[in-house]
Symmetry: D2
Subunit: 375 residues, 4 copies
């Protein structure tokens, strides 16, 4: 890594008056100062989101590709300027140990591979940024945390929303009680799954249906908006065995989380309805929402409250940033500065515990209690 | 009632091209051809909604006032051109029997008075339009139906949304499966109740908390959108005894209805968060929603689907009509033409049965099954 | 007129917390305390707007009909509870003098009849509420003012927007310079005229094309938003003689008004494009707009400004009121209390002067100056 | 440039049903297959827009920096991975001739430098992508075209909107007359200029005020929406010499363009009101608009028309793409394939001619005719 100071932001006199938004130049770190990542897996999320995200990173850079499809991996490597010698198969994966250009891995594999490839990365001395859900079981999740701790490597779960301006604004409104106490959270994340053979519909690979894949966004949001851990879960599953897609996984799950402060979070996730991704907070003196809330881009925030004779419904148009670049850069900063990431393995593990409780409640038809957690 | 034909709509040459909305003159029936109503109760909904609604009716007219507050009733009568001799106390109520200017009553009393005043009206030979919830128990509801049947009078429950253009458009999209099969319905109806002494917070008068008062809109909507009756209910209550408002009634109730076709309706109602009234249908190929959905005015409808490279989010701006005038005119038409109203007593009774099941589930923490109903 | 106090508003304890909009019951005056109006003309605006407006008045009532179509007038009278003896032809019009139930007239005739029927009404001792444009020439307008002054009767021009909550909110933001000084106003009012035989397309009857009919809303709005009178006008006409509708009147007019403070108002009106009615103020630190702005109902207000990292676009949902009821009630109040109306004849006359200047500029291709006016 | 086929797009089975938007992976060309650009100028637009744009290019890459500020240039070069030997001063600029890594230049200099640096680039054998306005005079613009023709180099003007999905959709609706014939176009582009010393407010450097800088977007849009050239211009300037910012340039210009088909374009541009950038087409059977229209990001498209009882207002959410990456990639493709760019020098020259006519009309207070142009 080269020496010398990192270039500073350029100071230009502002173009417009302070009552208008000012342009802000990005200040990318020089490539030789960035953290090198290997991307592990080149499926949908990798090709459509993670790779374009890397191109907008300011602290991280893509330096290697790991894939089970050598031709595809080679093509992707050429496209993204990764030299051919840094394309690895799953078998070669442990050889990353000796590749100093790789300081960290981004794991974008099917859910059932998260644990193994996290553990092997840690053992190869690499920091790990792993897609959600962290794993298919609490036990696996714990193993990942332990492996990283033992190897003294950082582990972060890719909860991209927690690094994104709209969700951060929702969190701030909630923590500041800008509209009074929160009473109810409504969240919804669903899409109409297309391909009956996709791994998301295979129970062994996916570890579940819409709940761990898309419902986890609702669950995670309820936790970061309240800053609390749920103490009770009630859930209902919809199975739809006549549909060939839903032979192994359920079609739709709805669940209600009860939080210590009395907030109820009412959540729905599905693989059977048209793409819908919403998050709404109902507070004492107003409401605020994202719709879409969990999409990769173009989130929209609205806030509603009464003022004099009017009901105000504000759209707050925040900067649209690449979610993946934001989270990858956060992890790169943590690596450089030896800080624990904002969404460490423990954050992912807690979601797995709640997912277990949701599944139990949906199966038994009874509310399931969760232990009170401090902080 | 005077003779002669009812005036016809005036035909004017259109002002604008057919690709623009054309103005439409109302065609009110002459007052002597209309159905005369006594308004029973002059509380919030009567003063703010029903009375202004009568002024926009085209088939009905206000001809009497019944109230427990003689001064208020007298003032209201003067304002709305009701002669002083047609102002009645609760004790006088049965004297309506001899008042030929009154063919029907609109009951806008606290819930626990609905049954008695419906039965007495029927016995006085008057048709009854009764506010929702129909009654505080299934037994009361049945009694009301029986009393009207015995007296050969019509009974209608004031489910105003079922007469209103936006909800009718939602129903049509659902029945025509314009965006494929329905999968999930999300509904929410809540407000931040202000006055700890209001009858809505008194269990004996209200017969329940937010569920029979505002949650009933969600429940009723799920039924008219699907055209089905729920077969299973799961519910969660939030009690908040630290708040003086919630000594007798619960603060918030969430409930999930399962319908025979597999649709799940996820509903929330509350007296503790800022006014929020929404209804959304998630179907296979799109979604459609009202927000606000259950307010008295200014409903807004949106429809979302994908088209080519775009996601279309359409606002469909329909005519804003006075909900109360629409439902009162419907009942007046039914009376004139001897037809059963679209939302008869049986419609209200079915909601009471589901409300009972919701309460049972919230209490027991178990799903409650409901008998399958044909039609 | 009956004696005794007018009933007061009913005081009910508020239903919801003060941070929600409270329901507000109307407080209609008893019919015997209201000002009686004769409606003169039963064309589009009368049937579709003015008559329904009267039904929502609180201080005025409809007591007579004047029309050149006796059958239509008789039908309308029956529908709106006007006794047959108070239906008048144009020839009978002066007999209103002896009809004490009529204190004022609402003139909803083609533009070229405004002057005559205003003068005759004043001479019959009636106050006059006249549709816009006041007349087809400045000379006619002055004659109307003079006739009412001589007869000691009030004259009001039906600029309904100036009585309506959304426009009042726009005016308040402008006068308070809530977003700094106004710089530019953009206004647009147009519709796709349907019927080549409609009087609006006949120059003699209409007195002009889209400018006096719909463009006058833009012009009037620019004046009431700034509170100033324009000092210079530049205009462009689009004639379209190939279209049978535009043999006598122009298709589209655009005009720019320059105000003493430096504000420019850029306005467009047309009979050839799809209904569009917008009004936007561009100020130093934000913008605010109505869209639709000049429609009869469902106006929508938005406000935009920057705040921290966001651009806020607020929809301010104000109460939707019947514009015609508001303006008629205002005039009734003026009559009862001997006050000059907010939009007297002089307000209409000033618009006619500016319309003359616009026509002159469009004809000559040169800017036309207007005299500076105080106040 | 390396040999071998360019990698193809990866084919993955679709994740969702065809009625949902499908994710689309970008297919960047390998860096060694891309066109190398020198960025000339590192002011606001370069730092905030062009440089981030290059990072999202798929066919182009940044290979050199030209600037009058050596320190800033060196920092930027490090940030964007440009080797120090490819940082040039204005004096060194002609040395680009010998730099084979540079095939083209992107000129992001103050307007008065566009001509010189285009001519010198062409003479150095480089293709030129030049910011709008192309130059400060028609004569300069013609010189730029001639120089590139003589050097057999391509010249493109950076009309980014013409490469961007929302504007392309507006063009398609217009050309297909999806809502009938166009009648009026309304366009507005303005911002509240902040710094009295900025070169945009200096007449010699900027060549004009808001018109060539931001008004040019309105003008260009009117031309590409209609596909016609204006035949008459009427304009009004607002000078504001009391404001220190407007000593040399005007504050606001409004202008109306008349097109051969009868369409009128009503345009406003300013340096004195809060950021507002809108574009609306008023057609016979509907309207469609962008708001914001000319911003760098987050454009929004709406379409309005009548359908049955409703007015539909559709938001069509199209993919948000980086405008600069799109236009740079277009130019790179043209260079690779020897095609003339979609917005060549002649496109920029025509805008300069119309700008001249607008200035003349604003000065003389008379309409100015422009020659009819074919195609």
């Amino acid at each position: 890594m080269s020496e010398g100071p990192i270039p500073k932001p350029e100071k230009l006199p502002p173009l417009t008056r302070p009552t208008e938004q000012q342009g802000k130049p990005p200040i990318p770190a020089p490539p030789d100062r960035r953290v090198g990542f290997a991307l592990v897996g080149v499926g949908h999320v990798a090709l459509e989101q993670v790779l374009p995200g890397f191109r907008q990173c300011e602290r991280a850079k893509l330096t290697a590709i790991v894939s089970g499809h050598p031709d595809k991996a080679r093509d992707v490597a050429r496209q993204y300027d990764v030299p051919p010698e840094r394309v690895f198969s799953y078998e070669d994966y442990d050889r990353l140990k000796d590749v100093e250009e790789v300081e960290a891995v981004y794991i974008a594999l099917p859910n059932d591979m998260h644990c193994e490839y996290t553990v092997r990365a840690a053992q190869a001395g690499k920091h790990v940024l792993c897609e959600k859900p962290m794993a298919n079981s609490v036990e696996e999740g714990q193993r990942m945390i332990d492996a990283c701790r033992e190897a003294d490597r950082l582990l972060m779960i890719a909860y991209r929303c927690q690094y994104e301006p709209h969700h951060l604004a929702m969190i701030r409104l909630s923590r500041e009680q800008a509209f009074g106490e929160l009473r109810v959270i409504e969240a919804n994340n669903g899409q109409n799954q297309g391909n009956p053979n996709q791994w998301r519909l295979n129970l062994a690979e996916a570890g579940g249906g819409p709940l761990p894949d898309v419902g986890i966004y609702c669950l995670n949001a309820a936790r970061y908006l309240t800053g609390e851990e749920p103490i009770e879960v009630t859930a209902t599953n919809l199975r739809n065995p006549r549909d060939p897609r839903f032979q192994e996984v359920v079609e739709t799950t709805t669940f209600t989380l009860r939080f210590p402060s009395g907030v109820l979070a009412v959540c729905t996730c599905s693989y059977a309805y048209h793409e819908t991704r919403t998050l709404r907070v109902l507070a004492e003196r107003g409401w605020y929402e994202l719709n879409p809330a969990f999409s990769y881009a173009d989130l929209r925030m609205k806030v509603g409250y009464a003022h004099e004779e009017s009901n105000y419904v504000e759209e707050r148009r925040l900067p649209q940033k690449n979610h993946f670049a934001l989270e990858i850069d956060h992890f790169a900063d943590c690596i450089r500065n030896g800080r624990k990431p904002h969404t460490p393995g423990e954050e992912g593990l807690q979601d797995l515990r709640v997912i277990d409780a949701i599944c139990e409640s949906a199966g038994s038809g009874r509310p399931v209690s969760l232990p009170r957690v401090e902080g």
